[in-house]
């Protein structure tokens, strides 16, 4: 109570300090949430690619790029150490959607439902409906990722249009915070037809639609290092680029950890500014109250009690600033995600950990900022402090 009243008396200064911390914490929350989202994306990818080898046409990546043949799957499956190899057809949902996009752009992933059962360890669960099965081949059906379902505002049974072709929604995925959230899964044959339409007719005429693949996913036999399979593919098949989980981590992981460091750095710098402002305010308000501290010391307040009072006050300022910053950060990330849902661009993932540590950080920073002037004030001779003007 007394603490609140003391703060109330120095309204303007306390308000300015709290604002400083609020902005710092808000930045930390926003950039931290962005980093979380990127992290989740990358972790998801890393987990998915870890136990397999993904083959693309030379120069391609992650099953995207030039055209391969479905026959290549048999060729790869025949290699030593390969348990299963399946063709996939992946493409962007629209040709321009990758231009300005953080994270993963909306994708169409074509594969034969259930073909990798028993091999694929990355489990997807369905919020509603079902996954694709082999029986879906030949049908225009789709399973939507959670963000995509939001974007289309689609439910199971609805019809959505992908690259000018109508598909019936048979399932919607639970959020994964990673690539599948933004993917439309369709039967392989349907994807092949969509893909054909993206090719120049001179190229398309030479191809038989049913044989097109953009990627081959190879699952190693138990105990076989995916790298060994990648080496074998490199040695025996030309015109392709195999990618292992390690390759993914190296290329994507290092790029994003750099980005994360920058994001967190921006947040920390803003926080430092907020922190300096707490130190400044506390130091000023302690100097202002030297006389008061002298009175209290003279009539019997111990040094520790004085320190406690000042530190509690500045920690409280930090806590309030932290909570306000969190509230603002929450508002920004929520609004940002809502706005991004239109284009299935989810930028932020505000986790409990980020929220908690931001507020805790602000509080501890406040307490530390109070500690320095508190120490000085409590060491002053009471009579000297009493006479202070």
């Amino acid at each position: 109570m007394r603490l609140l009243r003391d703060l109330g008396r120095r309204k303007l200064r306390s308000a300015l300090t709290i604002t400083g911390i609020t902005i710092g914490i808000m930045a930390l929350v926003v950039f931290g949430s962005m980093a979380n989202k990127i992290d989740a994306l990358v972790k998801g990818g890393s987990t998915y690619y870890q136990d397999k080898v993904t083959v693309s046409a030379k120069g391609g990546y992650m099953g995207l790029g030039g055209v391969l043949s479905t026959k290549m799957a048999d060729q790869i499956e025949a290699l030593d150490g390969v348990a299963l190899a399946v063709p996939t057809v992946d493409m962007l949902q629209s040709d321009d959607s990758g231009a300005v996009n953080m994270g993963v752009p909306p994708m169409i992933d074509g594969f034969v439902g259930g073909a990798t059962a028993g091999y694929e360890t990355f489990k997807l669960s369905y919020a509603t409906g079902r996954g694709l099965t082999a029986a879906d081949e030949g049908q225009n059906v789709v399973v939507l990722g959670s963000d995509l379902a939001h974007q289309f505002n689609a439910r199971v049974g609805d019809t959505v249009t992908l690259r000018a072709v109508k598909f019936q929604v048979v399932g919607i995925l639970e959020p994964t915070l990673t690539a599948p959230d933004n993917a439309a899964e369709v039967p392989l044959a349907a994807a092949q037809q969509l893909f054909m339409k993206t090719l120049p007719s001179i190229v398309a005429d030479k191809l038989s639609g049913g044989e097109i693949a953009t990627g081959i996913v190879a699952y190693p036999k138990a105990g076989v290092d995916p790298q060994k399979i990648a080496d074998e593919i490199n040695a025996s098949i030309s015109g392709v680029t195999p990618m292992t989980g390690k390759d993914f981590d190296k290329q994507i992981g290092s790029a994003t950890s750099m980005l994360n460091a920058i994001l967190i750095g921006i947040g920390l710098i803003s926080l430092l500014v907020g922190g300096l402002s707490v130190i400044n305010t506390t130091a000023m308000s302690v100097a202002e109250r030297t006389r008061e501290i002298g009175i209290k010391r003279a009539i019997g307040a111990s040094r520790w009690r004085i320190r406690r009072e000042i530190v509690a006050e500045s920690a409280f300022i930090g806590l309030v600033g932290g909570l306000l910053g969190l509230a603002l950060g929450y508002a920004i990330t929520t609004l940002g995600n809502d706005a991004g849902r239109e284009s299935a661009t989810i930028l932020f993932d505000l986790t409990f950990g980020t929220a908690f540590s931001s507020v805790a950080f602000a509080t501890i920073l406040g307490a530390l900022a109070g500690f320095i002037p508190a120490w000085g004030a409590s060491r002053m001779d009471p009579v000297t402090a009493l006479r202070y003007e």
């Binding site: 009243r5 008061e292 003279a298 009539i299 019997g300 040094r303």
Partner: protein
């Protein structure tokens, strides 16, 4: 037995390397338990400085001349730690400072309760005692007023209530009547005297006012950092402690 006894008490304020003020130049003083003593002397003679040393706010200078000694009820307190001195101030002493010194953000009652808190008394009991102390100084109806909403004399009386609230063994008051008219200052003196009588408390009053001096048992006179006259306890001289001193009417 002397409740406060000091020898070789010195205090030099160092303003700069060359410029020093010898506020106390080796004082020997003894104050008996239950005495009500006035310290008088011209401005700058070291009265406040002596009071601060007796109240354990300052330590006497240790490093020139014979070592200082200060005993509180026979216990040597000259070299106690800051914590130990703080505890004694909180629990055994009550202070009224020369410029009354209230905390501006707190109400009159809260200012009084600060002293209770530091003495380890809290809650209802403390509140009760705080209100009683404010009633004693005639300010019960001002309990919720901030210092800025009180007159100078009222602020001084709040400070007195704060000094009395724990019924400390020793009350040290620096010009407690400086801002009061003669009626009010008579009331304050009567209050000290009442405490002194009823609870056997020792009262040390620094004053310029010779009427205040006359109302006390003994007057210590200072000049230029030294005690010129230790005075004589009129009560002891008359050998009739309860009635020999002039008793001012106790306010209701």
């Amino acid at each position: 037995m002397a409740i406060l006894e000091g020898r070789n008490l010195r205090k030099t304020y160092r303003l700069s390397r060359k410029n020093t003020v010898e506020a106390l130049k080796g004082v020997e003083v003894s104050i008996e338990k239950g005495e009500m003593v006035a310290i008088m002397g011209p401005s700058g003679s070291g009265k406040s400085t002596l009071m601060h040393i007796l109240g354990l706010l300052h330590a006497p200078d240790p490093n020139h001349g014979p070592a200082p000694e200060l005993y509180l009820s026979g216990e040597n307190v000259a070299t106690l730690s800051d914590n130990a001195r703080t505890r004694i101030r909180a629990r055994r002493m009550g202070f009224v400072f020369q410029d009354f010194n209230l905390v501006p953000t707190l109400t009159a009652l809260e200012n009084v309760l600060l002293a209770s808190t530091y003495a380890g008394i809290r809650g209802k009991q403390a509140r009760q005692a705080g209100l009683e102390a404010l009633t004693l100084v005639g300010l019960a109806d001002r309990a919720d007023h901030k210092p800025a909403e009180l007159s100078g004399g009222e602020q001084q009386r709040v400070a007195i209530a704060r000094a009395l609230v724990n019924k400390p063994e020793i009350i040290l008051a620096d010009e407690p009547t400086g801002n009061l008219d003669s009626d009010r200052s008579a009331e304050v003196l009567a209050l000290f005297r009442q405490f002194n009588r009823e609870h056997g408390q020792t009262v040390v009053v620094v004053t310029h006012d010779s009427e205040v001096g006359e109302a006390c048992d003994r007057v210590i006179r200072m000049r230029d950092g030294r005690i010129r006259d230790h005075g004589q306890n009129v009560a002891q001289v008359a050998d009739a402690p309860a009635t020999a001193t002039p008793l001012v009417a106790v306010p209701v």
